[in-house]
């Protein structure tokens, strides 16, 4: 933090924000396997009143840009990242595209759009996209990744989830899940798929959309799909699991930081996502922390706790890293810190 000009109102983490996005541009990543209905869903959203002021970044294989062509009529601004997959070859293109969008918005060369939707290619692994927002300082300062929305085709989804690890990872890492083509699948199949998804990802809100018709709020920042993601633990297969650590007593920040530094150093690649609110000693509001593998987003303090209990809650999505190992590390470092008199 800047040592000059300190504000007595400032938190150790900067200005207290009304929400973790602060003044940054919200980004929603829409993912889902090939044919899950992403373009249809986005088109319907753009046509809704809530969709006004949306810039869209489309990533698709092939040079033709069919999805981008479909969306062209209704987006505020559209950028096509073709012939590659966001999670691998095209990531720098995503960074360049977002920086350019921001530059043009600030300089009046593009409309003052209010949000960005990124449509990933069907094969994309969302994790590297999440990491992009943490690694690129320019992007992290201007954009806030609000939600990953994964679409699952109710007809072909169950088989795809069995067969394709990319599809499972999309569902596991999603903040919100949308079942598509439920009218074609029939109720029993939808029920079965819902249970399958719940097992993979108990944290995400689930909605269904027929022909792209979804309450637009589900895609919006703070919309209906947003909810605290602190539910039960789950085993997802592929060695992926999720669990929640909760702590009633205020957490000393140095001990937390040391623990996370140790975890990142030892098991960074296996920390697929860590996200939560911390009750940090000396802070009025909750501190939002987020990690993607070895990368930490800058923490921010919110102006007030959301309704409910003032309690630290951290959700971990890890690979081959069980809860007891993490809990033990937290306990050990905290004991050391206390013993060290810090």
């Amino acid at each position: 933090m800047l040592q000059l000009f300190p504000s007595p109102d400032a938190s150790p983490f900067g200005r207290r924000l009304k929400h973790s996005r602060g003044g940054r541009i919200p980004v929603t990543v829409v993912t889902g396997f090939l044919g899950a209905g992403k373009t249809t869903l986005i088109k319907r959203f753009l046509e809704s009143a809530e969709g006004t002021g949306t810039a869209v970044v489309v990533n698709e294989f092939g040079e033709t840009g069919i999805d981008a062509a479909l969306l062209r009529e209704c987006a505020d601004e559209i950028v096509l990242l073709g012939n590659g997959c966001l999670c691998c070859t095209v990531r720098s293109d995503l960074q360049i595209a977002l920086r350019k969008l921001h530059y043009e918005r600030e300089r009046g060369l593009a409309p003052h759009f209010q949000r960005i939707l990124i449509e990933t290619s069907g094969l994309a692994d969302p994790a590297p996209i999440l990491a992009t927002f943490a690694t690129d300082r320019a992007l992290g300062g201007e954009f806030h990744l609000e939600a990953v929305v994964a679409l699952v085709d109710a007809v072909l989804g169950p088989a795809t989830l069995e067969r394709a690890p990319e599809a499972r990872k999309q569902a596991i890492l999603a903040d919100r899940l949308v079942l598509t083509k439920t009218d074609l699948a029939g109720e029993p199949a939808v029920g079965k798929l819902t249970a399958q998804l719940r097992a993979l990802n108990p944290r995400a809100a689930i909605a269904s959309a027929v022909d792209g018709a979804l309450d637009p709020q589900f895609l919006l920042a703070g919309g209906k799909g947003a909810r605290p993601a602190f539910l039960a633990a789950a085993e997802h297969g592929d060695g992926i699991q999720s669990f929640v650590l909760a702590e009633d007593a205020p957490v000393p920040w140095p001990a937390f930081e040391q623990t996370m530094d140790a975890l990142v150093a030892l098991r960074g690649p296996d920390l697929l996502r860590v996200k939560g609110l911390l009750d940090v000693q000396g802070c009025r509001g909750p501190v939002v922390v987020q990690y993607v593998q070895h990368l930490a987003h800058p923490p921010v303090e919110l102006a007030a706790w959301p309704a409910g209990k003032r309690q630290s809650r951290l959700v971990f999505i890890t690979r081959n890293l069980p809860e007891p190992a993490v809990t033990e590390l937290f306990r050990a470092i905290r004991a050391l810190s206390a013993g060290g008199g810090s």
Binding site: L2, R21, R72, V79, R105, H112
Partner: protein
């Protein structure tokens, strides 16, 4: 991998509400041309009354009940006695309100300021009228009143003859501890601007667009430093005055950005705890022909030598200048030291005429960052054919009030950042 683009459906200058949530708009009975006086009183019955100055006649001031910010209701709206008058500025302190009266030409009356008892908001009762008319005076343009004791203002006077007609309003202090008998206790003007001064008159800014006058504008005084006046002096830049002896104000420093900039220094907001000053220019020429008019951040850790360290980033000139009317900086929320005013030294909220209302995070004062913007559509019947947001006030509930200069009246918003 070439990015594909389409022609833009919307323009950068289109109406927008970015991180401000509009709650209500009130056109104020068709008299929605508002000045730069906004102040909140909590009435005896608990109602929250927003007092608003009009930019020009026929209306004097309007009180709006904003207890429910989504349902503003007019409580009272008053008329000026003369069409050539304007009551551009007002402030309230408890149940006392001070209103500035300025006339179009020197010598016209009534010109001065008036104190009202507003304990019954529906029936403002005049307590005193202070005449500041004179052969060389247009009266009072702006006033500051928040301690219940002194009115600080930019005014002419019967015994003040400026060396140039545009330099007619100097800084004046009135003791209003007895509200029915206000008495002048001090004044200060930039040396050389009064006939008879030993110093030569200041060099004029370039005519015709930039020569706006060496005279006082905002006269902010805060209880944190009751011995300091933070004085905007239009083409004279800004001054910090030592007013520990109100009878003899003395300059502590002057900072002037012009030339090469184009003057009209308007407001100085001190952020005491941080050692910063926020200084605004006012854009006064249509089509932004006096561009750039900015919000400046100054390092004032040593008040004798303020140093500019940044400006708040403005939206694109070419996107806005052709929208109609003015585009550029003007008023900011001034942390008025009253319990009904929001206090922040990390966020600056200002009005930029057709550039709307903008909020800046200055946590890092070297890199102010825009975090919110509100540009409503052009109000119907506005001669400017665009929004011209003129002033802003934020209450302690963090509800934002902003007004249009010509027709749109009052806009009420919530901050969402």
């Amino acid at each position: 991998m070439s990015p594909a683009k389409k022609p833009l459906r919307r323009k950068a200058s289109d109406a927008t509400a970015w991180n401000f949530k509009p709650l209500a708009q009130h056109e104020l009975s068709g008299f929605g041309g508002m000045g730069e006086g906004m102040s909140i009183q909590i009435a005896k019955d608990g109602r929250r009354i927003l007092w608003l100055a009009h930019e020009s006649a026929p209306k004097n001031f309007t009180a709006v009940d904003v207890s429910d910010p989504k349902k503003p209701k007019i409580v009272v709206q008053t008329d000026l006695p003369q069409s050539y008058m304007r009551s551009n500025s007002l402030e309230t302190c408890g149940n006392l309100m001070a209103v500035a009266y300025q006339c179009r030409n020197v010598g016209q009356q009534p010109a001065g300021f008036e104190l009202f008892d507003i304990s019954v908001p529906e029936k403002p009762r005049s307590v005193a009228f202070v005449d500041r008319s004179g052969p060389h005076s247009r009266g009072v343009h702006q006033l500051w009143f928040c301690d219940g004791e002194y009115v600080h203002m930019a005014s002419g006077a019967a015994d003040f003859q400026a060396s140039h007609p545009l330099d007619d309003q100097c800084y004046q202090i009135f003791d209003v501890k007895n509200p029915s008998k206000p008495a002048e206790v001090g004044r200060w003007w930039m040396p050389g601007t009064r006939v008879g001064d030993a110093e030569p008159p200041p060099a004029r800014h370039q005519k015709p667009l930039y020569d706006m006058g060496f005279r006082a504008h905002n006269t902010n005084v805060y209880p944190r430093r009751p011995d300091r006046c933070y004085l905007g002096y239009i083409d004279g830049g800004m001054f910090i005055l030592d007013i520990s002896d109100k009878a003899r104000p003395k300059p502590v420093c002057r900072w002037d950005n012009s030339p090469p900039y184009h003057g009209f220094t308007h407001t100085i907001l001190p952020l005491f705890e941080r050692g910063l000053l926020v200084v605004t220019d006012e854009s006064v020429v249509d089509r932004a022909d006096d561009w750039p008019k900015l919000v400046w951040i100054l390092d004032a850790r040593d008040e004798r030598n303020p140093v500019p360290i940044s400006t708040c980033p403005m939206p694109n000139l070419n996107a806005f200048r052709g929208r109609g009317g003015r585009f550029g900086a003007h008023n900011i929320h001034e942390n008025v030291p009253l319990p009904t005013a929001w206090q922040s030294d990390e966020v600056i909220i200002g009005t930029f005429f057709n550039g709307g209302l903008r909020a800046y995070d200055i946590s890092n004062p070297y890199q102010p960052k825009e975090v919110a913007a509100f540009v409503p559509p052009a109000p119907p019947l506005s001669p400017a054919k665009s929004i011209q947001l003129n002033d802003v006030f934020v209450d302690e509930r963090e509800i934002v009030y902003t007004v249009d200069r010509h027709a749109g009246g009052l806009y009420i918003l919530e901050m969402d950042f």
